[in-house]
Amino acid sequence: STVICVFEKDAIQIDEDLLANSERSLETLVSVGMTLGVSRRKQATEEM
């Protein structure tokens, strides 16, 4: 079984390590509660 989460465009900045592994077609073993990413909306607001 699998869970897929789809985020809207520009909604989340996924953690770099997860993206880097995925770009190597390599799955990352994770546990519930580990960080996934940060909201980009808040980042954008703070930058403004």
């Binding site: 077609s25 799955e27 960080t35 996934l36 990413g37």
Partner: protein, 591 residues
């Protein structure tokens, strides 16, 4: 001084000044041949462009010996990051001695937990993991001294509370300055034929040639004079260290690694030095562990593995799982920053390849096998809900002995009256800490799983999902789909049978809807996901829920059923406000 084993045979003629312009001496070529022969595609030295501020030192780990509880021929594996090394087999004893060492590069943000696994060996079948321990190299680094770790407990892979033996290890982390000095010493030793710790002009010119530097004789003379600070006609270790340090910054002195022939100067002085430091060790036999393995399981295979070494190396590459490469699944453990190999029964792999990676297989599925998969899953669900199925629980735990940790399960085994009850087991409170629990702007992982994340659907298609019909619209269905999702990020959490099967909410917000989408029950194994003939995510049975959040906008959460495990249960309902980390539902056996 220097390395005995790096010296030429006594019968070999010593070069002199007259031959200074001659090609690189044959002894280096011989080293290169030897190393290239031993090295497979996966055994390249682990070099990437390492920034100076990321380099924390070189760790030397020596596995000395162990005390086990029975006699056997033992071998030990050292796993660090994406590399695994193994010792030779010991004698038949309960106190094996290996005295094998390996140097590894420590990065500030890289892996820092080294795992040592001890295997009993078998002449014919696969070797068995008996015990393991983990060492935090950062801790060793912070203690700033050679650390002989004697009598470290070896833990039983199926229960971290059971000790199966002890192991002695020596662990030492060189700081970068020490590494630089040691490097100059080693470089000097390569051509210091008379072993006086100094380089004559002829030895110096040979060294420059060995570095692949084709400068003119006059330039060599100039460099020699520049290095010979005190003008005594020879270059000692300190003088060479200064030259290497200063000259390499200005103009690359070292073009090629004298051991493996690799082109250097791609990055910077430090990276070149690290390359050669480790390469010298491999070339001179100082490093007595065998490398070239990705996981400890791979390193522990018996003689059959060696017979088909090349075929296996080819199939062990990280990447999409198709053809023979579908025989193993490697995943990167985020906690330990190590590669681990996933256990899948060989028969299942072969049958999955037959079904999902060929047109013929999928055509068969089209002609009725879909119904068969559903029927099998329903039957399996009925059995797994029966009291008789509870007797399978201990066997299941045994078969995943190093992956199911019963210490964190809320209830003891006796509590579970059916296998399905065990399959959807709850964990003790706090077993899965939620990162930044008070911050709703940080999303968390929704399941114990193997994760793939992509910033766009295009990336997901390029790197992972090969089904030709995949699209976000197809995944979410018309009821939930909106244009905003089309260009959004996609995160895939794949649960394996041994995993904790409850899924949690990744973001805080209000649940807007649940939409059931009926469908097939194909496997969600990478073998199927990486097949162009199969469209698992858009054809499988699934439930799409929509969570409305203040920090992330709308988030679509899709729970997808798979062969056997096709039953999806949610513990929340429409309109509920959920906090990230809350239990959201679970998968169980059934159709």
């Amino acid at each position: 001084m220097g390395h005995g084993s790096s010296r030429p045979d006594s019968g070999e003629p010593s070069p002199d000044a007259d031959t200074a312009e001659a090609p690189v001496p044959s002894r280096f070529a011989r080293f290169r041949r030897r190393l290239r022969f031993h090295r497979s595609g996966s055994d390249q030295l682990p070099f990437k462009n390492l920034a100076a501020e990321d380099f924390a030192g070189i760790a030397r780990i020596e596995i000395i010996g162990a005390e086990m509880k029975f006699k056997d021929r033992w071998l030990a594996c050292l796993s660090f990051g994406e590399r695994t090394y193994r010792t030779d087999k010991s004698d038949h004893t309960e106190k094996p001695v290996w005295r094998s060492e390996k140097k590894v590069i420590l990065e500030r943000n890289g892996p820092h937990i080294a795992r040592i696994s001890v295997f009993e060996t078998n002449r014919l079948s696969r070797n068995n993991l008996v015990g393991y321990c983990e060492i935090d190299l950062w801790k060793v680094l912070s203690e700033d001294s050679e650390d002989n770790l004697e009598g470290l407990s070896l833990l039983d892979p199926s229960s971290s509370n059971t000790i199966v033996g002890s192991i002695s290890i020596s662990c030492y982390v060189e700081d970068p300055i020490e590494t630089e000095k040691a490097f100059a010493r080693r470089v000097l030793a390569v051509v210091d034929y008379n072993e006086d710790g100094k380089l004559s002009y002829s030895e110096f010119t040979e060294l420059i040639s060995a570095f692949g530097n084709e400068v003119a004789a006059s330039k060599k003379e100039e460099l020699f004079k520049q290095a010979d600070k005190n003008g005594d006609g020879v270059v000692d270790m300190d003088e060479l260290a200064i030259l290497l340090s200063i000259q390499q910054e200005k103009e690359s002195l070292i073009s090629n690694c004298p051991v493996c022939g690799e082109n250097l100067g791609k990055y910077d002085k430090m990276n070149d030095m690290l390359h050669m430091t480790l390469c010298f060790d491999e070339g001179t036999g100082n490093q007595s562990m065998t490398g070239g393995f990705l996981t400890d399981k791979q390193a522990s295979y018996g003689w059959m593995f060696k017979l088909s070494e090349w075929a296996h190396f080819a199939s062990y590459g990280i990447g999409l799982k198709s053809g023979s490469s579908a025989s193993h699944i490697l995943v990167f453990d985020r906690r330990t920053k190590r590669l681990v190999e996933e256990t899948i029964d060989r028969r299942i792999i072969l049958s999955m390849r037959a079904i999902y990676q060929s047109k013929v297989g999928l055509t068969l599925i089209d002609k009725g096998t879909r119904d068969l998969l559903r029927s099998i899953s329903e039957k399996q669900g009925t059995w797994m809900n029966s009291p008789e199925s509870a007797k399978d629980i201990p066997k299941f735990i045994k078969s995943f002995e190093d992956q199911v940790n019963m210490d964190e399960v809320k209830h003891p085994i006796e509590y579970f009256k059916t296998f399905n009850e065990f399959f959807i087991r709850e964990l003790k409170p706090g077993a899965r800490p939620i990162a930044y629990v008070e911050r709703d702007d940080i999303a968390i992982c929704a399941a114990d799983s193997r994760l793939m994340a992509f910033t766009s659907v295009d990336d997901s298609l390029r790197f992972w999902i090969k089904g030709r019909k995949f699209s976000i619209q197809g995944l979410l269905g018309m009821g939930t789909y909106s244009n905003a999702f089309d260009k959004g990020c996609l995160v895939i959490f794949r649960l394996a049978p041994q995993d904790y099967h409850r899924f949690h909410v990744p973001v805080s917000g209000t649940i807007e809807s649940f939409v059931d989408i009926p469908g097939c029950l194909y496997t969600v194994n990478p073998i199927a996901i990486n097949s162009k003939y199969c469209n698992v995510f858009t054809e499988n049975k699934r439930v799409v829920s929509l969570i409305s959040t203040s920090e992330f906008g709308k988030v679509a959460f899709v729970a997808i059923g798979a062969t056997m495990v096709g039953s999806i249960t949610f513990l929340k309902k429409e309109g509920d406000y959920v906090h990230k980390g809350d239990e959201f539902g679970y998968f169980s056996f059934g159709g």
